[in-house]
């Protein structure tokens, strides 16, 4: 979490979309989704979707009922943060980002993303990779958080996966475009459910990055990949405002 502070400040840059839409109350209008689970609504962000699921939820083991209950409890908490009119966008975003950082297991994500190539990294390189990759994700996913303010999130369903993993499926409903399907894959790590993959419209973040890293590492050594990540992070727009 050494880099957490960097991303806690916010990007004040107003966007056209933000000025167009205010936080809107939920509506059931275009929902044609057969939910058997309780539908949660409210203005939220893509990152909030991650937060909805997991923050600080613990369970004794990889038990589906416990996971579901935990997800529901967390959902309520985060929706409360999002609906809190006392908070401005920046404060709300910071809350959400903190929760997301706590919800993702970056070590597992890094291991899965590098797969067998993980072994080619020295311990120091592994640690650096985890930090740089975390920073990369935070920069690229956090930079448009303003644009998600007019969206709301519905938990569609959930299901058990192999290895005791759990998938929770959500829909991000947007006012002037089709809804986006976002699935979260969870794993109980040391008794805590953590997000280990985000699958947007069927595209897994893990698989996508693994494909990129594999192609790079097929021709280069870990040091080269780390340098690419470092350079990318240096040149990409920082989230911190000051």
């Amino acid at each position: 979490m050494t880099r957490g502070t960097k991303s806690q400040a916010t990007n004040p840059r107003p966007t056209r979309r933000e000025t167009q839409h205010t936080l809107r109350p939920s509506s059931t209008r275009h929902v044609a989704w057969p939910t058997r689970e309780t539908r949660r609504r409210g203005a939220a962000t893509l990152l909030a979707a991650a937060a909805l699921l997991l923050a600080g939820t613990t369970t004794a083991g990889a038990n589906g009922d416990a996971a579901r209950a935990a997800v529901r409890a967390t959902t309520t908490d985060v929706l409360a943060v999002l609906a809190d009119q006392e908070l401005d966008t920046a404060a709300r975003r910071q809350h959400v980002e903190n929760i997301v950082f706590a919800s993702l297991d970056f070590t597992t994500v890094s291991r899965l993303v590098l797969a067998r190539n993980w072994r080619r990294f020295s311990e120091a390189q592994q640690a650096e990779f985890i930090e740089e990759f975390k920073s990369h994700l935070s920069r690229t996913y956090g930079r448009n958080i303003d644009n998600y303010s007019d969206q709301r999130i519905e938990i569609a369903s959930d299901r058990a996966e192999a290895r005791g993993d759990w998938t929770v499926r959500t829909r991000v409903v947007r006012p002037s475009a089709d809804a986006i399907l976002v699935d979260y894959r969870l794993r109980a790590i040391n008794g805590t459910w953590k997000i280990i993959d985000i699958i947007v419209e069927g595209v897994s973040l893990i698989a996508n990055f693994r494909s990129q890293f594999q192609e790079i590492l097929a021709n280069h050594d870990p040091a080269h990949l780390l340098k690419l990540l470092r350079d990318k992070n240096l040149t990409s727009e920082p989230i911190a405002a000051g």
């Binding site: 056209r16 167009q20 209008r29 275009h30 044609a32 989704w33 597992t108 291991r111 899965l112 797969a115 067998r116 993980w118 072994r119 990369h136 920069r139 690229t140 996913y141 930079r143 448009n144 644009n147 569609a156 369903s157 299901r159 058990a160 996966e161 192999a162 290895r163 993993d165 998938t167 499926r169 006012p175 002037s176 475009a177 399907l181 894959r185 794993r187 280990i196 993959d197 419209e201 069927g202 595209v203 897994s204 893990i206 698989a207 996508n208 693994r210 494909s211 990129q212 890293f213 594999q214 192609e215 790079i216 590492l217 097929a218 990949l225 690419l228 990540l229 990318k232 990409s236 727009e237």
Partner: protein, 263 residues
């Protein structure tokens, strides 16, 4: 003639697809790191050619399509953009209908027909989508998906100039779908061309942020797109919203080899 221009475009697609087929039968090998997870998205025997076409498409987009789309996005209110998207989606009725049926999805075919009737009339020629609000959600299917559903593998990855990412299966599917759509044969060529341009710009305007994000989020944008295209098509073939465990991708989430010192 605009119609012939469009035909030429599809000829290029067919030729590219055939070339891809030739290559794919010979040397298609997927990259693997030996972890049990095979990166099927990396079946790309023409990578060098593809990368150069990809570069060409990207430059063309950056300097022509994207700026126009940005202007359009600034000019056109969101509801108008939405209506234009709806309008062109409604025109895909024959393609959606036939492919639903070909996949044995008769319910989907019925809903597709219902959508077309409702949206073409009450929805003012497809500009609005009241059908979706009445419980008839869109059921888009194309021939590439139909082939995939019946077991046709994607084949080699292709980047086609002006068209973008494809694979052999979906390229062939695109040609069939084009034959299915009545519109090109009954509508005046200029209208067709204008419509195509409007649809392209409007679609691009809808993903301005997404494309920027993708470029920022990737270390190798070419591989990012190749993999995203592959995953997306596979997901569409098995229908995104079917609620079953993702057994075929299970090895993706296996990191048990990490603890084993040997193999």
């Amino acid at each position: 003639m605009p119609a012939s221009a469009r035909t030429t475009l599809f000829r290029i697609a067919i030729i590219a697809a055939m070339v891809g087929l030739l290559f794919s039968t010979g040397s298609a090998t997927a990259a693997s790191d030996g972890s049990g997870w095979e990166d099927a998205s990396a079946r790309d025997p023409m990578e060098r050619v593809n990368r150069s076409f990809f570069w060409f498409n990207d430059k063309l987009d950056t300097y022509t399509l994207a700026p126009v789309a940005r202007g359009w996005d600034w000019l056109a209110p969101k509801p108008l953009q939405r209506s234009i998207t709806n309008f062109f989606a409604n025109l895909r009725f024959p393609v959606n209908m036939v492919n639903n049926v070909l996949q044995g999805k008769f319910g989907g075919g019925a809903i597709t027909t219902g959508r077309f009737v409702v949206n073409s009339t009450i929805g003012l020629a497809g500009l609005f989508d009241p059908a979706a609000e009445w419980g008839m959600a869109p059921q888009p299917e194309d021939f590439g998906q139909t082939l995939g559903r019946w077991g046709t593998p994607p084949g080699a990855y292709l980047v086609v100039p002006l068209l973008g990412p494809l694979n052999v299966r979906d390229g062939g599917g695109m040609v069939v779908d084009w034959g299915l759509s009545v519109v090109p044969f009954v509508v005046n060529g200029w209208i067709l061309m204008g419509g195509g341009a409007l649809s392209t710009v409007n679609t691009r305007a809808g993903v301005l942020q997404e494309v920027d994000d993708a470029k920022a989020a990737s270390l190798d944008y070419y591989v990012f797109v190749r993999n995203a295209y592959f995953q997306r098509r596979q997901a569409l073939i098995r229908d995104l919203d079917v609620d079953e465990p993702t057994t075929t991708e299970e090895d993706l989430y296996d990191d048990s080899w990490n603890e084993e010192p040997g193999d």
